[in-house]
């Protein structure tokens, strides 16, 4: 009893001392805390809409609780199934082509011996990362329109094709263009972390390998790649979390009526159902589903990575 008392006395004394010394720091913290509370935490209670038949006119109090009804409903909604199918397949394909691209590019940049050329090409390759999707989309149309796009004009002029290729206006062509534009936009910037990881590899390893007669490919395969494995795994886990979400900006920037069937992904579904048709409960449920699956994928991938002896993310 008395022990506990003195203990709590000491604690409060220490706390008092800390507050006296650092009250200004706590004061500073109030500002960011206010921002997260007002703009992030205050939105969390809104998630209960996913379990209610939310009617804007009735508000949270008046609307009825329906348990998992909304979730059952969305899984029967053909629009949702289509959006889900598109999101998952496009994001997996995106991961498949966009994830290795920066690794390969970083390996190539690392092998360059012309330092000036390396610097200049890095600067140029980073550029697309700094441009908005509105710019990328509008430039893409300027390049790929069937009759007036640069690529088609050039190919027709050369006599390679007679009619313009509908790069962005036919769904299968669009799918490829969508993915390749993504690769193009992200590959340069994506090299930064890999290049940083490569520079931290011990130079003696390369020297020893060269004395042993290992060629460029062998050195790349046995030293550089293992050297950046940790970075690769970390970034892969992070990217897996994005398999459910797609960028509304990217979709809208390359949007047109001919490709609706593939373009219709979860981001579009939530936007159109939720805001344009005011189906608040449904859109919230889909959003919740999306972020839960994302978090779960990251956790599972992290587990698997640790099982395999990697450092993991968390």
């Amino acid at each position: 009893m008395s022990d506990a008392k003195t203990h709590s006395n000491i604690v409060s004394k220490e706390t008092k001392k800390a507050i006296k010394r650092d009250w200004q720091l706590y004061l500073l913290l109030m500002l960011p805390v206010a921002f997260v509370v007002i703009f992030s935490y205050a939105a969390y209670p809104g998630l209960r809409m996913a379990f209610m038949d939310y009617k804007p006119a009735l508000g949270y109090e008046g609307s009825e609780w329906v348990g998992l009804q909304i979730f059952k409903k969305i899984f029967k909604d053909p629009d949702f199934i289509r959006a889900l199918r598109n999101s998952v397949s496009f994001n997996l394909l995106d991961l498949l082509v966009s994830f290795p691209a920066p690794i390969i590019l970083a390996l190539m940049l690392n092998e360059l011996r012309l330092m000036r050329f390396k610097k200049v090409s890095q600067t140029i390759l980073y550029l697309p990362h700094f441009l908005s999707w509105a710019i990328i989309g509008s430039v893409a149309y300027t390049m790929f329109r069937p009759s007036t796009g640069l690529v088609n004009m050039f190919l027709m002029r050369m006599g390679v094709i007679e009619k313009g290729i509908p790069f962005l206006t036919e769904k299968w062509h669009w799918a490829v263009s969508y993915l390749l534009i993504g690769v193009w936009q992200g590959m340069g910037w994506g090299t930064i972390l890999y290049l940083a990881a490569i520079t931290s590899i011990n130079g003696e390893l390369y020297e020893a390998a060269m004395i042993d007669g290992a060629g460029r490919w062998k050195r790349m395969w046995h030293i550089t790649l293992p050297g950046i494995k940790g970075t690769v795994v970390t970034l892969l886990i992070m990217n897996l979390g994005r398999v459910m979400g797609s960028s509304l900006e990217r979709l809208k920037a390359l949007d047109n009526t001919q490709v609706r069937e593939f373009e219709y992904q979860l981001a579009i579904y939530i936007y159109e159902k939720g805001l344009q048709n005011s189906k608040f409960s449904q859109a919230t449920a889909v959003g919740l589903f999306q972020s839960l699956v994302g978090v779960m994928l990251v956790l599972i991938a992290d587990r698997v990575a640790k099982r395999l002896g990697e450092e993991g993310l968390l």
Partner: protein, 306 residues
Amino acid sequence: MFNKKEETTTSDGSRAIVRLHVSDFVIVAVLTILCSTCILPFWHVLVKSISGNGPVMAKEVFLWPKDFTLDSYVSVFHDKSMTYSMGYSVFVVLLFTALGMLVCTCAAYPLSKKRLKGKKFFTFVLMVPMYFSAGMIPSYLLLNNLHLLDTMWVLILPLVYSPYNMLVMKTYFQSSIPDSLEESAFLDGATNFQILMRIVLPLSKPIIATLSLFYAVGRWNAYSDHYYYITSDKLRLIQYKLQLLVEGAEASIQTALGDVGGAANTTTPEVLQAACIMFVTIPIIAVYPFLQKYFVKGAMIGAVKG
């Protein structure tokens, strides 16, 4: 930093100055192609924007202007809504960046102090939003209740606090500002505020520059919030204006797509559209060479903590 490279060249260099392999040429060729895919599209748009309408319609403009004219730019600058939107965007971005840096510093500095009581709790509170967001509809209803929808502030306040930027700044404070400096100031009777203002911030100029650019470029390029929160034309940032312009142009082309060919397209002022794209792109390309190195630094600091 490049010690591996130097060793390669010196050990090779004693016998043959540079021993080039076929693979060297392949790498240079591939990189040259990739680089040109990053430059040529913009060059083409630029060339188109300063060419005459006639040659563009006749599909004669590729990578060199024909009938040079700046008429299209004159029309863009005469279009009040474009110039207004540019000025407005710059204003919003500056305000956003200033507020963002203020909030970021207020979070990062206290959390960089090991001795701070409750540090774990505050870090947790401030990091959760990075991993879990309530989603679009709850945020929309929240902003509606706060009466922020369709105001300039809805483009600023919800994004002002960025957990990622906070982490970068905190990591910088912890790794680059020696504790001893602060301790001696403390013994001299300086308060926490004074230490922050007179010692820590002046020593943190590089990270302040980097994060300001993160904030500024982030806001400059993002426009998805316009789809949800903005309805008035006056409140739209320039990127979204460009997006609308292109959407509109695509729609008008597609309605005439039935007869693919020249005639249908004569209605779309391609040159003007190219000038609009350049009008929005040039500011970022102009400052980009100066920003790049700060961005690379910031990305590296962020990755350490990741």
